[in-house]
């Protein structure tokens, strides 16, 4: 319990620091909403209009930085992210909700697949040292993970979508299928996600294979594994209950972090596959100098990462009794 309280402490402090950075960062950008408004109206906008639009956008250029900061913190706490400049008059929360499910669905699934698959390969590889899983796959995937994944994406599109025509090369679903909870729709979404998910899995699995394998090897050298063998336990029991369960502990937080980064890491994949996700919005927000959307996305991503880390902590505490009491 004390362990979790300590983690909670960390959660709050880090969130605060990140949120504050979020506040500062966009304000470092040149220009600002006023400039953006002016260009949007081709310079033919009078100051009164600018003022009225700023009010509508929740921009308070008359407040000093501290006042802005305080009201910003309040808004973040309430989950009120204001109105998007780039999608004006839409609210930021509305804009985000448009894209969030897609990002979560695609990259979340792909990350989970990569983690599970990579971890399993790592476990079996380390168990049979010198076998194919151990001597071939890790180096191969480690090399592949060094490939820029937008490039891998481009190639997969060229090969599997454009040339072979097996998969669609863009979008999260086809425009002919109405979005509802039905088999045609779901299968359509899955069909559209195969290539981008494949790209993510292909380029990220190497890391999981390697770390899991190395942890496993370290764990397999432990005395309690020797002991388990001496006790005559079955192979699977030793491999999972004794070795893998201990070896996976250090990876959980890493996994949580990457799960949290889903939203941001998806950016390049989303762009290449024209996927309707948050990453695309983020790039747009930056290009549009859409403060509020940018801040909200930053906040969301940071929050998600922290939440995932917290979840991983809980999981770690559950799996590893030592952490529960560690002072």
């Amino acid at each position: 319990m004390r362990y979790l309280i300590r983690r909670l402490e960390f959660f709050v402090v880090t969130l605060w620091a990140a949120v504050t950075l979020n506040f500062i960062l966009p304000r470092l950008l040149p220009g600002g909403p006023e400039v953006a408004l002016r260009t949007r109206f081709h310079g033919r906008i009078n100051p009164a209009t600018v003022k009225s639009l700023e009010v509508a956008l929740g921009i308070h250029s008359d407040q000093n930085l501290l006042q802005q900061y305080v009201s910003y913190l309040g808004n973040m706490l309430r989950g009120d992210f204001g109105v998007s400049l780039g999608f004006y008059p839409q609210r930021v929360s509305y804009v985000i909700m448009l894209a969030l499910p897609w990002t979560l669905g695609l990259v979340g699934t792909a990350t989970v697949i990569a983690f599970v698959l990579g971890t399993l390969i790592g476990i079996f590889g380390a168990w049979r040292r010198g076998g194919v899983l151990d001597s071939l796959l890790p180096p191969v995937f480690v090399v592949i993970s060094a490939f820029p994944y937008f490039w891998v994406g481009l190639l997969t599109i060229l090969i599997f979508a454009v040339t072979l025509g097996w998969f669609p090369q863009a979008f999260g679903s086809s425009s002919e299928v109405t979005s509802e909870f039905s088999w045609p729709y779901i299968s359509d979404v899955v069909y559209h996600s195969i290539l981008p998910a494949f790209t993510i899995v292909l380029t990220s699995i190497g890391g999981w294979i390697l770390t899991m394998r190395n942890n496993m090897i370290t764990t397999l050298a432990e005395d309690y594994i020797k002991m388990a063998r001496a006790k005559g336990l079955s192979t699977s029991r030793i491999m999972f209950q004794y070795a893998a369960r201990n070896a996976i502990l250090p990876n959980l937080v890493g996994f949580a972090m990457s799960l949290g980064f889903v939203i941001s890491g998806a950016l390049l994949v989303e762009i290449v596959f024209n996927y309707p996700g948050l990453g695309t919005f983020l790039l747009q927000a930056v290009n549009n100098e859409d403060f509020s959307l940018m801040q909200a996305l930053f906040f969301l991503i940071t929050f998600a990462v922290l939440l995932a880390v917290l979840a991983a902590d809980v999981l770690t505490a559950w799996l590893d009794p030592r952490t529960r009491e560690r002072a």
């Binding site: 490939f147 820029p148 190395n214 939203i263 890491g265």
Partner: protein, 308 residues
């Protein structure tokens, strides 16, 4: 130790705890090359690129920027890889692009490692509230979404060229290493040779630089390799989405141009494939070296010869 937060459990726990007799980064690398085929492969690739980066003028037949040829020519004797949609020689671009791509990887890798060492090790050594603050800083940077942060920073300094790109990569890339180094330094803190140094009256600065750092060589080298790999990919990604300086000549900007001119579909696929391949190769070189390095600093990870 109060708020001793461990955000990332040390994935290289084994390495972090071990302090083996090790003599200098150079000798380690030398050993790596002699005994490890993966390291050798990585080193050869890297070496090739280094040579190309040093003498591009001799290898490249044309000015990489000059838009003087017919557009979208297929590969031929005159243009080994054909020409771009803008009438430039792809091969010459590739050769000249090596220099900047490699420079980013190495400079950013070094700087990020330096920052990691500085912050990670001082954090561990200082302990107490100094550790608190530095750890928190590290964790915040770990949690902050890297790619978006990079995009914002790069957009901020739009078109600022190489230096900006490197700074952005360093700012976003140091934290992971710092955390690893901190945890290794922390485990070192309980090593008695540090207490021994303290009890004979050494100053803190000496202890950090002359007693702690040399024992961490292998982790620092590994960190550099990781940071360089990160720099390669990050720079390529940023340049690809147009946040580099498009008039620079590097593989990432080549990809940017290729993408914007639909190279893969518009008749000059090599324009996109080859620079991507080079990035992949450079990345792979660092990844292989890192992989091999892991095996060298932790013998348990070495491949085993199966007897039966």
């Amino acid at each position: 130790m109060g708020l001793d937060v461990r955000l990332i459990a040390d994935q290289t726990a084994a390495r972090a705890d071990e302090v083996r007799p090790q003599a200098g980064a150079l000798r380690l690398v030398g050993a790596a090359l002699r005994h490890n085929r993966k390291a050798l492969a990585g080193a050869i690739i890297l070496g090739l690129f280094v040579v190309v980066a040093i003498i591009p003028g001799i290898l490249a037949p044309y000015d990489p920027h000059a838009q003087i040829f017919d557009q979208t020519l297929p590969p031929s004797g005159a243009h080994l890889l054909g020409t771009t949609g803008n009438g430039q020689d792809i091969f010459s671009q590739l050769i000249w692009g090596t220099r900047e791509s490699l420079a980013i990887a190495i400079v950013a890798g070094l700087m990020a490692t330096l920052l990691s060492v500085l912050i990670g090790v001082s954090s561990a050594y200082l302990g107490g509230s100094g550790d608190h603050v530095l750890s928190l800083l590290t964790d915040v940077f770990l949690v902050l979404p890297t790619l978006p942060l990079m995009i914002v920073l790069a957009a901020y300094a739009r078109g600022g060229g190489l230096a900006v790109l490197i700074v952005v990569i360093v700012i976003t890339g140091w934290s992971y290493g710092a955390r690893q180094l901190r945890s290794q330094a922390l485990s070192l803190r309980h090593r008695e040779f540090l207490d021994a140094a303290r009890s004979r009256g050494e100053r803190g600065f000496y202890i950090i630089t002359a007693e702690i750092l040399p024992t961490m060589t292998s982790l620092i080298v590994a960190n550099f390799l990781g940071a360089a790999l990160y720099a390669v990919l990050a720079a390529a990604g940023l340049q690809f989405i147009g946040l580099g300086n498009p008039s620079d000549m590097s593989w990432g900007t080549m990809l940017f141009w290729a993408e914007n001119n639909g190279a893969l579909n518009a008749g000059s696929p090599l324009w996109a494939i080859v620079p991507g391949l080079c990035i992949a190769l450079l990345g792979a070189a660092f990844a292989l070296l890192n992989y091999a390095f892991d095996e060298i600093s932790n013998p348990a990870l070495r491949p085993v010869r199966r007897r039966r």
